[in-house]
Symmetry: C2
Subunit: 454 residues, 2 copies
């Protein structure tokens, strides 16, 4: 007798099998692409000592964290993949080779207020490159190149990876004598696209007591990237400011390096932009910063963000470990793709390519056929249950398998199998080997589409 009503916690994504299969395709593409670019897979515990996870401490994070005691230990669930990376690198630094390049795809936990499209358990898919003492700015070009390759492999076409450099911003604010207000300014300017220039100007002058002339200079500076036709033109415009602040000049050199090498990495101009308004909220980033937006859905905001940081593991180690990385908020991205209907419905989502339906009491011939299919790479499922023909075909239909294969007495006697294409209804009676060929050819066609449309 049931005693508990089954339920899944709110804010926790749990997919039905067809959607799960689509999600697995995304995961597999990410793993393959990250590995192809020479990143090592990493897996760290979901749970850490609370004092380790919260070494940086304070802020929103601490309120959202899942923290608890067990056997006298103060424990917490990770809220991102960067802090565990910092711990890992500090702990194992003697055994790692630097630059250390890792990817990690895993779940993280934030006890946020539950609302539609916000998740308390969600996947992040991160790549980072960690140097020992220093790290070439060319790495800052590779990170968006990997993201371009990843999104392209998923089938995404209409997206922009936006790049900026916080040294350029800090240097520019220093030129205006506004260094002590630069964090406030960056946070405000970051909202330019969302709230518009007038409101940004008002906040700058009213809330942060910035002179109207300076506010205009700031907005004029920001418009350099909005008005330029391409990244090279933004760099040209920025050259006009060179020589007035060393930090600015360094940032401009780094940005020029990124822009220059992105071409060699094969990133086309239509998927890349320099955007001077981007600062990323966190004080964490110190140089290059990234955001990625879907061209047709700007309201979603950035689906993949990151940047350069000066010292990954400052709370754990004396060693200076600068790095650059980026993170895809995978659960949220997948949720949005579902909502917008951007997941290719043509790709098979059934648990099997072929459902084999024995029509005789002796199941051995059907089992042998399934075994042969599996040995040849066709995902084969057997249906052993009794029941009428109609029930069996109904099961095949409901599963959405591309092919149903019937093994009746006639087939067994004739050394053939009957195979029905469930989409077209086309039915063949051929040898097992020829049926295999037919199925494989059909699958190759069905599997050739993009995962994401858009």
């Amino acid at each position: 007798m049931p005693t508990v009503k089954p339920r899944t916690l709110s804010g926790f994504m749990e997919l039905l099998p067809p959607a799960q299969r689509q999600f697995e395709r995304v995961l597999e593409t990410l793993r393959q692409t990250y590995a192809l670019c020479g990143f090592a897979p990493l897996d760290t515990p979901l749970m850490e000592a609370a004092e380790v996870l919260l070494a940086k401490g304070g802020g929103e994070t601490e309120k959202q964290i899942y923290r608890f005691q067990k056997g006298g230990a103060d424990l917490a669930l990770r809220f991102d993949l960067t802090v565990p990376l910092a711990k890992y690198v500090a702990l194992h630094s003697a055994e790692l080779s630097f630059p250390f390049r890792r990817y990690q795809i895993g779940k993280v936990y934030r006890g946020e207020r539950a609302q539609r499209g916000r998740f308390r358990e969600f996947y992040q898919a991160d790549i980072d490159i960690i140097g020992d003492g220093k790290l070439s700015a060319a790495n800052d070009a590779e990170i968006p190149a990997v993201i371009y390759r990843t999104f392209s492999a998923l089938g995404l076409r209409k997206f922009h990876i936006r790049v900026n450099n916080r040294k350029i911003l800090s240097g520019f604010y220093a030129m205006l004598g506004l260094t002590d207000k630069s964090a406030d300014i960056m946070r405000t300017v970051d909202k330019l696209e969302k709230i518009g220039a007038d409101k940004v100007r008002a906040i700058l002058t009213d809330d942060f007591s910035i002179a109207a002339a300076d506010a205009d200079k700031i907005l004029g500076f920001m418009s350099l990237s909005a008005d330029a036709p391409n990244p090279a033109a933004v760099l040209d415009a920025l050259e006009a400011y060179r020589g007035r602040n060393p930090l600015f000049d360094t940032g401009l050199d780094e940005l020029a390096t990124v822009v220059r090498y992105l071409g060699a990495f094969g990133v086309p101009a239509e998927n890349f932009a320099v955007d001077l308004t981007i600062a990323r909220g966190l004080d964490y980033y110190t140089g290059t910063v990234y955001e990625t937006t879907l061209d047709e859905y700007p309201e979603i905001g950035s689906v993949c963000s990151g940047g350069r940081y000066d010292n990954l593991a400052e709370y754990y180690a004396d060693r200076n470990l600068p790095g650059v990385g980026i993170s895809i908020g995978l659960t949220r991205l997948f949720y949005i793709l579902q909502e917008k209907g951007l997941l290719n419905p043509e790709l098979p989502t059934a648990p099997a390519d072929a459902l084999i339906l024995p029509m005789t009491d002796d199941l051995a011939p059907a089992i042998s056929l399934a075994t042969m299919f599996r040995e040849n790479g066709v995902r084969a499922q057997l249906y052993f249950e009794g029941g009428k023909f109609k029930k069996k075909v109904g099961y095949a239909d409901k599963l959405g398998v591309p092919y149903a294969v019937f093994m009746g007495e006639d087939e067994i006697r004739g050394g053939v199998v009957t195979c029905k294409d469930m989409a077209t209804g086309e039915q063949t009676t051929l040898s097992a080997a020829d049926t295999l060929t037919r199925i494989r050819d059909g699958l190759a066609r069905r599997e050739s589409g993009r995962i994401i449309l858009g």
Copy 2:
């Protein structure tokens, strides 16, 4: 300045990159093989409402569980993948097709006393087939067939999947008039291999007041499988008991079905045995039960266990959902394989197949080469950092990359690249396309070995 000593919780496995790469190979093989056999991937939250996870309640589980409060909710981390499956199936039964076949590979949590080789966070890799109302015994044959295929794909050769049926045991104890003691007897006999026949006899007679004659009959019955040369001979010996108890007869029919169809599934006799001593501790299982042992390491015990259960979701739903499943304790298995030196050291474990070392200030030619390699499926890493030639080659050595590729001025001018096989030292200077071919051929050779030796 460091403020917190970095550490990983005891009982939590955290691998260095080469071992992680080996673990990823295992995961990938499991995902592929399970999918090939027509199981749908499933992913459920790591966290559930405590009342849902503990619906069955009581026992060791409850003490080991990680349970905590957050925002007024009573939460817990999953301790296996079966309870979340039961919840999932009960919650979504209207949207699923039965038999529902799913695989799930994920971490589970048990706050056990930490000791060597015991983990508090570990992966389980489960497959289950859930029927609606009833489920053919042929499914009980498929489960070990999938495990045979999985272990074989990993490279394992010397293992035995041991099968028994609890109805045979219960029926036999009923014949002896010992039904009310059958759970005690099963738990005792389960230890036969570990403690020997004399101690088992002593426990049966002394602790459970079983007559010496009955204890001998029990031990005699158990020896039927130990003494038989093959599964068919065990079935023959069991036929002598037919007709004396209906439950026994049903169990014997089910076991005969499993033995019969395992051949059609291509499972060779040397990887399969009927073992009447297996009962599995849990009262949970009601028919077929499985254990899997490594021939050369019997002391490890079972690395993959499971069985048939009457009703998966009895605590959540009125619907009768019988099932059969099995679980690989992946983290423990991997730990043992490492300890015993059974992971093939010949397979590459570097984060990249080719490390590309630019020898000029302009990094663009090296980047273009890496991009071309990646487009052709070779995992290519770039080394952008400065430093002497020796330092760069030392990095390649330490990473253990199969190939180092040098791009100096001579190469760029000549339209060629220099490629060194890091294992043999053999160095070639060829076009990029020919270098790619050389690397791909070499990799195919290196990647051809088994993952697990033994």
